[in-house]
C-alpha cells in the first residue's frame, strides 16, 4: 500500500464520498452503500450494471461501456479493450491476444500505449495504458456521481491476487489522475467473500472457502480460511486458458461452421464479420445461462448474407465440454495446492460473469461433498449475482474505512497483517471436534459441552488435533437375483470408496476438572490463544460462578 501515501486531492475523511469499483479486463462495475449499510451495484447511464471495460472514439467523441463495445465492429482501430492487465507492465510481459480485434498495444517507453484517433481532427495520438485507465475510471466515477447526486472522490478497487506492486502502483496512479482517492486495493476473492459474509443472515463461522472467479479472459481461484471473520488466503491459481472467451469461441466455431455449410464463406476470416460473430456469440451464451434455448442471429454476417439459428443448452454443454472440464481441474488443483481435501471445504463461492453458467455450478457440486455449500444462482436460490460480488465487497469495505485517515489505513494494513501466526494444528476439547486449525492468533473460542447425564465431576482435556481423511472400502452390497435387474446401474463391481474426515488427537495440552456439575448441565470452555502462543483455558459450568482458570506458557 506504499503507493497510497499523499493522495493528490487529499479529501478529509468527513468529505469523502466513497464507492466500490470492480475493475476487470472485460467488465467493470460500481457499487455504493446505502444508509443502512447495504451494498448496491448501480447502473450507468446506459442502464448497464456490468459495464464493458472498453473505451472508443468516434469523431473526437468518447464512448465507454456498451456503446464502445458496439464500435468493435465498425471502428475497432479507435477502440481500446482488455487493457486492465497491461497496467504497470512492460510491453514484453503482456499477452496481447485479446486485443487483436481492437486497437493494438504497442511499446512506448517503459509502458504500453495505443495509437488511436481520439480527436476530431489531426494526427492520431499515442495514449498510454495508464491514461486509458484514467479515462475509463473517470467515466465510472461520473456515472456513480450522477447516480448518488454527490461528487464521488474516493474508492476501494478490487485487484487480482497476483497483481505486482508495480501494477498496484500504476492502478493507484491512474485512479488518482481520475480524481479518485484510492482508500485501499483489496483482493477480488476476498471482496466476493465479504459480500456474502456481510449479509445480515450470515453468521461468523470458522470455515474454508473456495472462491472461483471465472471471468472473461482469465479465471482465478483462491482458497481462503475464514476464522472469526478474518480471512487468510491459503492458495491461489490463475488460468488464462479456461475463461468466458473460450466458451464464446466454442459458439463462434459452431455457428461459423454452420454458416459455411449454407454460404461457403468463413465469417471468421473477415474482421467485421468476426466482430459481429463474437458479439452475438457472447449474447447467445448469456441467454443459455438463463434459458434452455437461445437464438443466434446476425444481420449481414458475411458477404451480405443474414444468418439465424438456434441452439439448446444441452448441445452447448456438449460442445463446450472441454472448456467446462478445464474449470473442474482448476478448482481441484487449487484445493490440493492449499493442502486440503475437498471434504474440508465448507463453501464454494462462484464469482465473475462466467459463473452464471449452470453447468459449471453443477459440475462443482459433483466434485465437493453434499455438505459443501455451492453458492451460485443455479444451485442456491439465495445466491448473490456472481457478477456483482466484487463490487459489493469493495463498496462494503469502502463504507467501513472511509471515516479513517489514510495514514491509519496504511498503518493498520501493513504491520498488523503480516505479523500474525497461524496455528497448524487444531486445539480443542476431547470428545468433540475442536477449533479449526489455521486460526490466526490471537484467537478466542468458546464452546459448550454437555456434561454426562448423571452430573458430577468432569474432566476437561485440552488437546491438539489434526484432521485426516479416512478412506474405507465398502464391499459391494450383496444383491439377490430379483433385485439385480434394477440395481444394475448404480452398483459397480468395484468396491465403493468412502472417504470421510476424522479428527486425530494430538498432544495433550492441559487438563482441568470442573467439580459437582448438575444433571444435564453444560460446561463452558473458553480457550484463548495469545499472540505469543500462550494458552489460557477457562472452564466453568454454565450458570455457575467461579470455575477453573489456567495458563500455559508460550513455547
Amino acid at each position: 500500500m506504499s503507493a497510497e501515501e499523499a493522495p493528490a486531492q487529499g479529501a478529509t475523511p468527513g468529505e469523502r464520498v466513497a464507492i466500490g469499483i470492480s475493475f476487470g479486463n472485460s467488465n467493470s462495475s460500481i457499487a455504493v452503500t446505502s444508509f443502512d449499510d447495504k451494498a448496491e451495484v448501480i447502473a450507468n447511464e446506459d442502464g448497464d450494471r456490468q459495464i464493458p471495460t472498453i473505451i472508443s472514439y468516434v469523431d473526437g467523441e468518447e464512448y465507454n461501456g456498451q456503446q464502445a463495445k458496439q464500435q468493435l465492429i465498425r471502428n475497432y482501430k479507435n477502440t481500446v479493450a482488455y487493457f486492465r492487465d497491461y497496467l504497470g507492465q512492460d510491453f514484453k510481459s503482456i499477452d496481447p491476444t485479446h486485443s487483436h480485434a481492437s486497437a493494438h498495444p504497442q511499446e512506448h517507453d517503459s509502458t504500453v500505449a495505443f495509437t488511436i484517433q481520439d480527436k476530431e481532427e489531426g494526427e492520431p495520438s499515442t495514449v498510454t495504458v495508464s491514461e486509458i485507465a484514467t479515462r475509463h475510471l473517470r467515466r465510472l466515477k461520473q456515472s456513480a456521481s450522477d447516480y448518488t447526486g454527490k461528487q464521488v472522490n474516493s474508492a476501494v478497487i478490487t485487484i487480482p491476487t497476483n497483481f505486482s506492486e508495480k501494477q498496484k502502483a500504476a492502478l493507484t496512479k491512474a485512479a488518482t489522475h481520475a480524481g479518485l482517492e484510492v482508500l485501499q486495493l483489496i483482493h477480488e476473492p476476498v471482496a466476493a467473500l465479504l459480500a456474502y459474509d456481510a449479509r445480515p443472515e450470515s453468521k461468523v463461522a470458522d470455515k474454508n472457502v473456495v472462491v472461483a472467479d471465472l471471468g472473461g479472459t482469465r479465471s482465478d481461484v483462491a482458497v481462503i480460511a475464514s476464522r472469526g471473520g478474518i480471512y487468510t488466503i491459503l492458495a491461489t491459481a490463475h488460468d488464462y486458458e479456461y475463461a468466458g472467451v473460450h466458451l464464446d469461441k466454442v459458439l463462434q466455431d459452431h455457428f461459423a461452421k454452420d454458416f459455411i455449410k449454407w454460404h461457403g464463406t468463413d465469417p471468421r476470416e473477415d474482421q467485421r464479420s468476426m466482430a459481429k460473430l463474437k458479439l452475438e456469440s457472447e449474447a447467445t451464451k448469456k441467454a443459455l445461462s438463463i434459458g434452455t434455448n437461445a437464438n443466434f442471429s446476425v444481420e449481414s454476417l458475411a458477404e451480405g448474407a443474414d444468418y439465424a439459428s438456434t441452439i439448446n443448452r444441452l448441445r452447448y454443454e456438449t460442445i463446450a465440454r472441454k472448456v467446462l472440464d478445464g474449470f473442474n481441474r482448476l478448482i481441484e488443483g487449487v484445493v490440493k495446492k492449499a493442502g486440503l481435501d475437498v471434504l474440508e471445504i465448507d463453501e464454494v463461492i462462484l464469482s465473475g460473469g462466467t459463473s452464471h453458467t449452470p453447468k459449471i455450478a453443477k459440475n462443482f457440486a459433483a466434485i465437493f461433498p453434499e455438505s459443501t455449500n455451492i453458492l451460485a444462482p443455479s444451485t442456491t436460490p439465495t445466491a448473490i449475482n456472481p457478477s456483482e460480488l466484487q463490487a459489493r465487497g469493495a463498496a462494503l469495505q469502502a463504507s467501513l474505512i472511509q471515516e479513517y485517515e489514510s495514514e491509519d489505513i496504511d498503518q493498520s494494513t501493513h504491520p498488523a497483517v503480516t505479523t500474525v501466526k497461524h496455528l497448524t494444528n487444531a486445539v480443542g476439547v476431547l470428545s468433540i471436534t475442536g477449533d479449526e486449525s489455521k486460526d490466526c492468533v490471537p484467537a478466542r473460542r468458546t464452546i459448550h459441552i454437555n456434561v454426562p447425564k448423571e452430573g458430577g465431576d468432569v474432566l476437561v482435556k485440552i488437546v491438539e488435533g489434526g484432521s485426516h481423511i479416512k478412506v474405507t472400502k465398502e464391499e459391494p452390497a450383496k444383491t439377490n437375483g430379483n433385485k439385480d435387474d434394477d440395481s444394475d446401474e448404480d452398483s459397480d463391481d468395484e468396491p465403493e470408496e468412502r472417504r470421510e474426515k476424522i479428527w486425530k488427537v494430538g498432544k495433550v495440552l492441559a487438563e482441568a476438572s470442573v467439580k459437582d456439575t448438575k444433571k444435564g448441565g453444560k460446561v463452558e470452555v473458553m480457550i484463548n490463544v495469545a499472540g505469543d502462543l500462550a494458552v489460557t483455558v477457562t472452564a466453568r459450568e454454565v450458570g455457575a460462578k467461579g470455575g477453573v482458570r489456567g495458563t500455559l506458557s508460550a513455547p
Binding site: H187, G229, T232, R444, P452, G456, V458, A510, S513, P555
Partner: protein, 53 residues
C-alpha cells in the same frame, strides 16, 4: 469425560504441554473483523479489554 478417581491438579488445573506449531501467514486486511483486530493490535489490547470498551 468423567473425572477419574484420584485426579488432582493445582487449583484443579494441570498444564501438560504448550502449543507446538505455528506458521507465519498473511491475513487479508478486509472486513469488520479484521478492522477490530487491527484496532486491538495497534492499541495492544486483548480480547477481554476490548470487550469492556
Amino acid at each position: 469425560p468423567v473425572l477419574p478417581e484420584g485426579w488432582s491438579g493445582e487449583k484443579d488445573f494441570k498444564a501438560i504441554g504448550s502449543i507446538s506449531a505455528a506458521t507465519q501467514r498473511t491475513i487479508e486486511p478486509v472486513g469488520p473483523h479484521f478492522l477490530a483486530h487491527a484496532r486491538r493490535a495497534r492499541h495492544k489490547r486483548t480480547f477481554s479489554e476490548d470487550d469492556r470498551i
